[in-house]
């Protein structure tokens, strides 16, 4: 059974600082997804990582995937208040098609 763990669960950071959220998964998965969720809202897709070594960047966020280590990271560069939200990683096991989500990382960027 595929399990996904994220850490930290909560992250409070100052504007302008850098930080990384980690996502570990338990069994083989070659598709890893990052979503953002604002309070009371649905999930917004951020990144789709399809292969080992994949790296994608959008603005101050960069995601990477290491399938050998079963690890994905979401790096935040020079955080701004607008990035405050909960971030989820999710893995797809083969062609099972159902996503298994981590518990989420609640990011709070303080002024």
């Amino acid at each position: 059974e595929l399990k996904v763990e994220q850490n930290p669960l909560f992250l409070s950071m100052q504007e302008g600082k850098n930080y990384t959220i980690y996502c570990n998964y338990s069994t083989t998965s070659d598709r890893l997804y990052w979503y953002r969720q604002d309070p009371g809202k649905s999930l917004e897709s951020l990144f789709v990582l399809l292969s080992n070594g994949a790296v994608k960047q959008e603005g101050r966020l960069m995601a990477s995937l290491d399938t050998k280590a079963r690890l994905s990271t979401l790096h935040i560069t020079a955080a701004v208040h607008d990035l405050s939200a909960t971030y989820f990683c999710a893995a797809l096991a083969g062609t099972a098609s159902k996503l298994t989500f981590g518990t989420g990382t609640r990011l709070q960027v303080t002024l």
Partner: protein, 116 residues
């Protein structure tokens, strides 16, 4: 184009009642998924449809939960004899599946179900 839509956005019901939650996927998406998200948790898989058939219903918690997709488009999640523990946000997602090998799932706004 239009995204995934879900109705109602909020549903309050009494314990023991029956509820139906509706999902309208992105046009042309063959795959449709239901997830449930409890407060402070990540979404948990309930059921997945490919076309009209349920390809995987392993996440349905018990036989009070049932879902249909009779014409391969709109889906309805049905919950009988609701219990307070069913209170959660029910999310629907769709994907192009065979046409998109990223298998990216696009989520709707969710239905917040409260059982009193």
């Amino acid at each position: 184009g239009a995204g995934v839509s879900q109705t109602p956005s909020n549903k309050v019901t009494e314990k023991g009642k029956y509820v139906e939650l509706r999902c309208d996927p992105i046009s042309g998406h063959t795959a449709l998924y239901w997830y449930r998200q409890s407060l402070g948790q990540g979404p948990e898989f309930l059921i997945y449809f490919q076309g009209t058939g349920a390809a995987d219903d392993s996440g349905l918690p018990n036989d009070r939960f049932f879902a249909v997709r009779p014409e391969g488009s709109v889906s309805t999640l049905k919950i009988q004899r609701t219990e307070r523990g069913d209170s959660a946000v029910y999310l629907c997602a769709s994907s192009a599946f065979y046409r998109d090998t990223s298998y990216e799932q696009y989520f709707g706004p969710g239905t917040r179900l409260t059982v009193t």
